[in-house]
């Protein structure tokens, strides 16, 4: 009897110890996975460093995708209305590391078991300002996660417990800097960008020490006195308040040791009279040395932007043969409706052409940069021009199909100039949409920029500009996306044929991911406040958070 009690006590102690060990167990990312094709892990915002959001997995393919079934869903029920956001919307691309999914909404981080959808932990931040327009997700380094509060705080938390390790503020929210991006981890750098255009910020990208958040380097989007590019501004003060946020993660080429980043719209947003000139390096693609932050080259996709055309869309890195030669390319479908394919070693254009109907450009200059038509700048009496052709929603490139996929909008608006001062400030204008815009999934040929196929999303409503579906393509000849009416959809990648759909509670709001876990391929994506997880096997379980 005594022996049995002792044995039970021993068992209890072991169980307690086991629980302690489990709760304290760090979830460590194998750092050699960073930049590798994402198969068993999805450890960065784009899965790998290329930004292709292409998966070599093909267990789910055109033959069987029709039988894709929901395995679990995770609904955020512990966060109500947030400032300016009546319901939580998951815009984050989750990370998947060792069977745990990590994702965010503004001010909140969640860790969820990828097998069951059970919550492991969550972390909440109390902000002191900043915009709650969205949060794109996390960066990961070893067993540490990096998350941004909207008020310009970088917060490092333990991936095993969600406990905060340190925090650093990188900008001032009162100056209308705000932070929504997913930090990008490259080597021993945590790269963090900023946004905000209500009050003429000076954009920058900063590299932080992953151990303590100390600044390693800071690259300013716009030049100061005496620096290259200042000749594209009428004054130093205009340049120092010229905008150029860096609010989406960039991409990285380890061989060239360059990170590629898209920069945001110029400020004042719609009033360009106080900043005549090209306004470098806003609304551009820039290549920076990841160790020094030094600019290697730039390509300005929206010279002298006056339409809020953030050029932050993912610069997708593609290795492909062009004219029989292997080339290192970079492709971007820009918010201004322009598609560019550049040589990423030097920024020279191979393709530079519109991918939607547009009227604001007069052609391209000798570098292949579009030339804006001054007649189409916002006017007091109005000027009819394109609305944004895309936004932060992730594009995808399939090397198998040779196609670049983008969710695009074709629409027009009247742009009004409201601030006619010689020194305008802030937005300085507004726009009024015209009629109903049309939404398309477009597949572009990267060698010509021509539309190989497109699918129009039928809808009675205009396309919303701030919520939109990201894209994922796979070697199973599939493209995953969604419409604006709650349908999650799989298309054949080569032809755009609809092969599967699922009616969710809201429109798809993030970029889908896929990975192998326990021998099965999973597809995970978000719609509104809910994360949905699918595999081919039939064992559906719904689970609210707990």
């Amino acid at each position: 009897m005594r022996g049995r009690r002792r044995y039970l006590r021993f068992l209890r102690r072991m169980a307690c110890l086991g629980a302690l060990l489990a709760s304290a167990q760090a979830n460590e990312l194998d750092m050699t996975l960073l930049g590798k094709p994402a198969t068993t892990a999805w450890p960065t915002f784009n899965g790998d460093y290329s930004g292709e959001r292409f998966s070599s997995l093909q267990q789910i393919n055109t033959e069987n995708v029709a039988s894709l079934q929901l395995q679990w869903s995770y609904r955020i029920t512990d966060v109500g209305a947030q400032r300016g956001a009546p319901v939580p919307v998951i815009k984050a691309t989750p990370l998947l590391v060792n069977g745990t999914l990590y994702f965010t909404i503004p001010d909140n981080v969640y860790a969820v078991d990828a097998r069951t959808g059970a919550k492991l932990w969550s972390y909440s931040w109390t902000d002191q300002g900043g915009h709650l327009v969205g949060n794109r997700g996390l960066g990961m380094y070893k067993s540490w996660l990096y998350f941004l509060g909207p008020d310009d705080w970088v917060i490092c938390v333990d991936s095993g417990t969600g406990k905060e390790r340190w925090r650093k503020q990188i900008a001032d929210a009162r100056l209308q800097y705000f932070t929504t991006t997913a930090p990008l981890v490259v080597k021993d750098h945590v790269l963090v960008g900023v946004g905000g255009d209500a009050m003429d910020i000076r954009g920058f990208l900063v590299a932080l020490n992953p151990d303590n958040g100390d600044i390693q380097w800071k690259w300013w989007t716009t030049p100061d006195a005496g620096e290259p590019g200042i000749e594209t501004w009428p004054s130093v003060s205009a340049a120092l308040h010229g905008g150029g946020g860096t609010w989406l993660p960039g991409t990285y080429d380890p061989e060239l040791n360059l990170v590629y980043w898209g920069t945001g719209n110029t400020n004042p947003v719609f009033a360009g009279q106080g900043r005549k000139g090209a306004d470098l390096y806003t609304a551009s693609i820039v290549a920076l040395n990841v160790d020094s932050g030094k600019l290697a080259w730039h390509f300005q996709v929206s010279p002298h932007d006056t339409h809020d055309w953030d050029n932050t869309e993912t610069p997708v890195l593609i290795d492909a043969d062009v004219g029989g030669k292997p080339r290192k390319l970079l492709a971007q479908a820009a918010r201004n409706g322009w598609f560019v394919v550049l040589d990423r070693t030097n920024g020279k254009a191979l393709v530079s052409t519109p991918y939607v109907r547009l009227n604001w450009a007069k052609g391209v200059d000798e570098q292949g940069q579009p030339i804006p038509d001054p007649a189409k700048e916002p006017k007091v009496s109005g000027s009819m021009t394109n609305t944004s052709a895309t936004n932060w929603m992730s594009p995808s490139y399939s090397p198998a199909a040779g196609l670049f996929y983008v969710n695009a909008v074709e629409g027009f608006a009247i742009y009004y100039l409201l601030d006619t001062e010689a020194r305008p400030s802030g937005y300085g204008g507004t726009l009024t949409s015209l009629g109903t815009s049309r939404r398309f999934l477009k597949a572009l040929d990267i060698t010509t920029g021509k539309v190989r196929w497109q699918h129009e999303y039928p809808s009675l409503n205009g396309a919303p500009s701030t919520v939109g579906p990201g894209l994922l393509s796979t070697a199973g000849n599939l493209v995953f996306s969604g419409d604006d009416q709650g349908n999650l959809i799989a298309y054949s990648a080569d032809r755009g044929k609809i092969l599967w759909h699922f009616r969710a509670n809201a429109a798809q709001s993030n970029g889908p991911i896929t990975f192998m876990l326990d021998g099965r391929q999973w597809v995970v994506l978000a719609a509104g406040d809910t994360l949905y997880a699918y595999t081919l096997a039939p064992m559906a379980v719904n689970r609210a958070d707990q």
Binding site: A173, F178, T430, T436, I498
Partner: protein
């Protein structure tokens, strides 16, 4: 007015961030955008108005008429001003100034006057940063005669200003209809919802119909505004502005 004028020519949905001036929704919208942007408490408009002439007489020479900078720095981006709440710190600062940097003291102003000047600065920041309070300017700048000529050439083939267009702004509605054919039959009606997988109609008797878009179902949409949609993007800005000016001259 802007909405009414333009709606007679083109289908339009006014952007949510520019509600019609004077509408009760506008103030709520401005407050909503302020909260969204985290701009803090709204400035006291009456105090800002009292502060305007004091600012113009004492400060504008260096800092510009709208505090956006001239010889002296812009006060829109000033940390000192952004930190201040209704004069909590800047009013005291104005008493002593920063003489070593050329910023004089304004000790002869009363405490109230200094607070009013600071409120004027907060109003300038609000006017720049809170795009929810922006007001569209007078856009009736075109040539009404040229606008009349455009309307006569492009619109009056279908419309009559004294007939179908009379009072159009009030009776405005865009009804997209559809004809849906399937082996089970044919349906017609106003479209309530459509995506790749289903279409929802209300037929002529008011009955709702939902049809799943199987491969053997054909959907034909009819948009009465299709000719207007075709104009969008092709219309010259000058025509748009002149037609607006012309329509403004009509009853």
């Amino acid at each position: 007015m802007l909405t009414a004028v333009l709606a007679t020519c083109l289908p339009i949905t006014l952007w949510a961030q520019a509600p019609p001036p004077g509408a009760p929704a506008a103030a709520r919208f401005g407050q909503g955008v302020r909260e969204f942007l985290g701009l803090g408490p709204p400035p006291d408009a009456a105090a800002a108005e009292r502060g305007a002439p004091i600012y113009a007489a004492n400060c504008a020479f260096c800092h510009g008429p709208l505090a956006r900078g001239a010889e002296g720095p812009s006060l829109i981006y000033s940390e000192l001003v952004l930190e201040d709440q209704h004069g909590s710190s800047v009013a005291e600062f104005l008493k002593v100034g920063r003489p070593q940097k050329g910023m004089p003291a304004f000790a002869t102003l009363s405490d109230e006057q200094r607070k009013d000047v600071v409120e004027f600065l907060h109003q300038q920041i609000e006017d720049v940063a809170n795009r929810g309070t922006y007001q569209v300017k007078n856009i009736v700048l075109g040539d009404p005669r040229k606008g009349a000529s455009y309307v006569s050439k492009h619109c009056l083939g279908c419309h009559s200003l004294t007939g179908d267009l009379k009072g159009l702004a009030e009776k405005w509605r865009r009804d997209i209809t559809a004809t849906v054919r399937s082996p089970q039959g044919t349906w017609q009606g106003r479209v309530q919802q459509i995506d790749d997988f289903r279409i929802e109609l209300v037929d002529d008797s008011g009955r709702p119909v939902v049809i799943v878009r199987d491969p053997d179902v054909a959907v034909e949409l009819h948009d009465p505004l299709a000719p207007h949609v075709a104009i969008i993007g092709a219309l010259a800005d000058s025509d748009m502005i002149n037609v607006t000016a012309y329509l403004e001259t009509l009853e």
